[in-house]
Subunit: 341 residues, 2 copies
């Protein structure tokens, strides 16, 4: 690309999430000092699911997550109670990936000026239910007005040891804990129903998918035992393909997903819902986000019973899919970008 073409292109080009993160990483490393003697309590900084600090007898694991109206949810599709529930579980899922036990949460709300008491009650009840289910009391936070509703949740947890994204090595197997694709199917079903102005419960398979999307659960318990066996862990918030690419990059390896075991793991409810949606369940599993399942890599003999083998780690880079047909693996495109549409 010549300098002139670059100049012409750049005003129209949206900043990508990856570019934005790399830029901030540079700025914050320069400004705030590096991990090392100058930051004796910092164990892990930017680039993983959470930051890790040395705290007393163990490690403190600390993360922040945000849900924005119009980006992460539409009120026509999701009750505010569900928005509250999901916002906390999404933050807890980062702790799950690090193998941490939740200690407490803080939440920061941006509320439109028209917000009613009933709406705030619905949102807050969902957060409180979620906090109760996750064993993670909300200790406080902050409220501000703004034009669009958003919920930012900071969570603090403790761990004896933490899972990272960077430990996958050639020879390891890839393990999946939890379901993938259900939440994306649920979202599609809800969006279509809202579009058709249909009400009612739908079929049971559809209900399972919608519930997976509305009420995800961070896999805290599984995460805590998983980090003792695995060498790398990441939670799947942006889709299996996209988050696997992050793990592959952090570890400097290629990940090969195998279509056959992956398809066998897909829930029958997902396949049933996909029939009525006209979607391919594997595609939802790979590119649909917000499942909050866990992807891990580790030595084959270390795999826990509740983790399912879905591929292997190779030398190279990127995420590839080995077709059931036995043909050549193909490279998968990456997942969701939070800054681009």
């Amino acid at each position: 690309v010549t300098a002139q073409r670059r100049r012409q292109r750049s005003p129209a080009r949206q900043l990508s999430e990856r570019e934005a993160i790399l830029l901030l990483e540079q700025l914050f490393d320069a400004g705030g000092g590096r991990v090392g003697p100058a930051r004796p309590r910092v164990v892990l900084g930017i680039g993983d699911d959470a930051a890790v600090l040395r705290g007393g007898s163990g490690l403190m694991v600390w993360s922040v997550d945000v849900c924005v109206e119009g980006i992460h949810f539409e009120r026509a599709w999701l009750r505010l109670q569900d928005v509250g529930w999901r916002s906390l579980q999404a933050a807890l899922s980062d702790l799950a990936a690090m193998g941490a036990r939740p200690l407490a949460a803080l939440c920061s709300l941006i509320l439109p000026g028209t917000t009613t008491r009933a709406e705030l009650r619905a949102l807050g009840s969902g957060q409180a239910e979620s906090a109760d289910a996750g064993g993670c009391p909300i200790l406080g936070g902050n409220i501000s007005r703004g034009s669009e509703l958003s919920v930012t949740t900071a969570v603090l947890g403790v761990a004896a040891r933490v899972g990272q994204r960077s430990g996958a090595r050639p020879g390891h197997d890839l393990w999946l804990v939890g379901d993938v694709g259900l939440a994306a199917a649920g979202l599609s079903l809800v969006a279509r129903r809202a579009f058709l102005r249909r009400r009612g419960p739908g079929q049971q398979a559809e209900q399972v998918c919608v519930q997976a999307w509305r009420r995800p659960r961070a896999l805290i318990r599984q995460g805590r035992t998983l980090v003792r066996r695995a060498r790398a862990v990441i939670d799947l918030s942006d889709g299996l393909a996209g988050d696997a690419a992050r793990l592959a990059e952090a570890s400097g390896v290629r990940l090969l997903l195998e279509e056959r075991p992956l398809r066998q793991l897909l829930r029958p409810e997902l396949c049933a819902a996909c029939t009525s949606l006209g979607s391919d369940p594997l595609s939802l599993a790979l590119y649909g986000g917000e499942d909050y399942a866990l992807l891990a890599a580790g030595p084959p003999r270390q795999r826990p019973r509740y983790a399912h083998r879905i591929g292997r780690v190779l030398r190279g880079s990127g995420v590839w899919l080995e077709p059931s047909s036995g043909g050549h693996p193909r490279r998968l495109r990456e997942g969701f970008d939070h800054l681009r549409k």
Copy 2:
């Protein structure tokens, strides 16, 4: 108010920040369990400047703060670099009020789709400078798209003991650390200049005010020594009158501000700027926010040299001003509400 009048009024009535906080406090206390045996590590929950957890050898102090475009700043008035600086200092000011030493920060950004690399660089540079100045490295965070720019900052600090809002008792004096009113004058000057489309440095007094607004500094060092002497501390983010009302309520006391010592403490630059603004400097000191000074209450003989006496603690409730003229004290209205305009 009859039920009917209440019904008629309620659709037009905006939820206040206080109502919102009380509602969430109820919900989160019920949902997440109470401080006590069920939450062994939680020392202080909702209702103070920060949450406090027991962590290893001391206390972990944890807070979150948000800056929203259109509410906390306008881009016509403030460079993005200053937005970055202020967002971190505002969060650090909560740690200052608790007497904590900053450990690290996480930031969560909501960026409009049109955000350029140069804009993100400006914002991030301001955050990085601020992190450096505050000795508080930024360890990571989160980015999302949204329609309006906002910066949410979570900060974690450590303390041997913490300052709270609830310890003021009749017989204590009221102490002020830092300047009040300058930031509000700075904001008025910048807004007027933008309105008049005037450029240029202005007079030196005006520069001091504008700088106080653009580049506040959390009083971390003073806060750490202040909590050893004072029985109650709060930081002044929403104006002296408003934050004093919070301290009065948390402590169950009346605060009497004395006009004479308070006026003597006002900076000459504030008085000069107020002449050109046609404002009363005392009014800016009482109702102008974002000073990030500290207000404390403690036994008269415990007052540190850098803290100035500005009033006293009495039985009763509310915040009152004793006029220099010696007339009857008058009750002050409360300050800024983040949910109402």
